[in-house]
Amino acid sequence: MATATAETGFDLALSEEQELAQRSARDFAREKVLPRAAEIDEHGKIPPEILREMGALGFMGTYVPERYGGSGLDAVSYALIVEEINRACASTGVVLCSHMSLAVDPILHHGSDAQKEKYLPKLARGEWIGCFALSEPASGSDAAAMRTTARRDGDSWILNGTKNFITNGSLGNLAIVFAQTEPGQKHKGIAAFIVEKGTPGFSVGKLEKKLGIRGSDTAQLVFESCRVPAANLLGELGQGFKIALSTLDGGRISIAAQAVGIARACLEDSLAYAKQREAFGKKVADFQAIQWMLADMATEIDAARLLTWRAAALKDAGEDHILAAAEAKLFASDVAVKAARDCVQIFGGYGYLKDFPAERHYRDAKITEIYEGTSEIMKLVIAEEILKE
């Protein structure tokens, strides 16, 4: 779909390595992940060999530099890979999204050299999975109201509190945990910590049962006098809130790419079904009512993808991408939910059955409007950006 019009200063062409990465991810997703997507949803578990192979293929460290054991590609390549994996299975896709955007990315951007050398190689190869622990039972979008505390004790920090809705929470070997070091200071008192699984006092609480992305684990993380070495403070004291927000800006690009992948699954499955199923003596695809749905889906997916690529390209260029990422996530998640609704409608009664993928897309799509900033928060971010001048 990319076209090169470089002479006009508007170039959407992918580089050779971006195309190869997209293709590798597409072939892998189609051959290894898609055939198991229904089973992953049904059993609520991703076969470990799928995650192992994603690690071996370098997907789990797509834009981590080679010197830290990563693949050395860029955020655009990452968006391409995320779209392909989510086209096949949104549960598998979100493991990659959370790991790379929310755990690897903050270490890459805010970690000390020692932290990068210690953690990035394992994470980039997928030997370790990472997660991001910000939300709490009583604070989601209002992150500054968090109650988890960190108290300095000699060469350590003592963490106490509970984190909720943590994607990769039980699968993860490492968590980026946000806590108040100066309770009462709201967002100014928040710091970020790298906490390894197995640290005494760190345990995984209950696993949530969900509407969609059922193969991905969403867990409660509990910290009870959990002693974390001072060397594991990520960034500076008081910088935690900033780290969380900038991490989420990047994370929104990956959720936008996930939404594009889910929407594409809806379109491709709808096209295949509409071309084959007959009603009133003709193909379902021959009815204009269906053609309009398909045309809207195709147009909106292209638009969502372009917004996503633009946000990723801005991130790669080191430019401000707060507005672009929020727009991409707001729009793409809406496109995914609408495409899933129309996909079920095109499948008719079969769309409501578990024997067909439409109902899975319908359940999977919804979360993209909620996590990593709800659509309402996206609008607040966008409004703030466009009003601030």
Binding site: E16, E17, L20, A21, R23, S24, D27, F28, A56, L57, G58, F59, G61, T62, E66, S71, G72, L73, S77
Partner: protein, 255 residues
């Protein structure tokens, strides 16, 4: 050991083939191109040798148009060490084999592995023709290669088992399948491939005879649309089974 794989870029297996308006070719505009699947098996087989013995050098070459460079880049990204392109448009199969014989003479591989046939025209010509031009031993449709003192053991699947052939090196084999499915290019592999040069020269520069007996495509047509199925409804299971057996024998003629 040095292994050379001549590969061909063909329309991807997911492409829905359409006959062009001229009625003698297929539409190639805007389609996805890939390494021919049997050539991919040959690459995988060679890379499995390289996994077992890292001193193995795996090279790929293609005689084809400029777009085939993408297939070579993909082979490098899978883990091949070297790639080169002989640029040619529509060369006859025998001319391709002669060009490859020249490449083999320069590259001096110990083993040449070809896909048993290309998935576009399915001729299966180039592999055996290349062995003939080189005067090398040739074993067809192998599934495994095992090095043996100055020779290779080449495994073939036969009815109910397998045969093992032994060929002195250098030798040529055509590949039916590798032990594992061909690997996907990893991202680190892609970045490594990016740094590699793919030297290119036109077919003319090889000085081979390009005149060859050839053929022309007279016409191409898609297979006829499939007729509707038949549902056997009335009667109990035994009666339906009898009518099914009769239909399979007398109408479908598959029994």
């Amino acid at each position: 050991m040095k292994i050379l794989i001549p590969l061909k870029q063909v329309p991807d297996s997911t492409v829905r083939v359409k006959v062009a308006p001229d009625g003698t070719s297929v539409v190639t505009e805007g389609i996805t191109w890939s390494i021919s699947p049997y050539d991919e098996y040959a690459i995988e087989m060679a890379l499995e040798r390289k996994d077992a013995d890292p001193s193995t050098v795996v090279a790929v070459v293609t005689v084809g148009p400029e777009r085939s460079r993408d297939a070579l880049r993909q082979a490098l990204a899978m883990g091949c060490d070297e790639a080169s392109l002989v640029r040619a448009e529509g060369a006859a199969p025998l001319a391709v084999a002669r060009a490859l014989a020249k490449v083999v003479a320069e590259a001096k591989p110990d083993l040449v592995l070809c896909g048993k046939q290309a998935s576009d025209d399915d001729q299966g010509f180039v592999g055996p023709a290349l062995a003939e031009l080189l005067g090398w031993p040739h074993v067809a449709t192998i599934t495994k290669v095992v090095p043996a003192e100055g020779a290779v053991e080449l495994w073939r699947e036969v009815e109910g088992g397998h045969e093992v052939w032994k060929a002195p090196l250098p030798a040529l084999a055509t590949v039916h399948k590798s032990e594992k499915e061909p690997r996907y290019p990893s991202l680190p592999g892609i970045m490594k491939a990016k740094k590699k040069d793919i030297p290119e020269r036109p077919l003319d520069a090889l000085g081979v005879d390009v005149a060859a007996p050839t053929w022309t495509v007279v016409s191409m047509e898609p297979p006829p649309a499939r007729g509707g199925g038949k549902i056997l409804r009335d009667g109990d299971a035994k009666q339906i089974a009898e009518r099914l057996a009769t239909a399979l024998r007398d109408e479908a003629k598959v029994l």
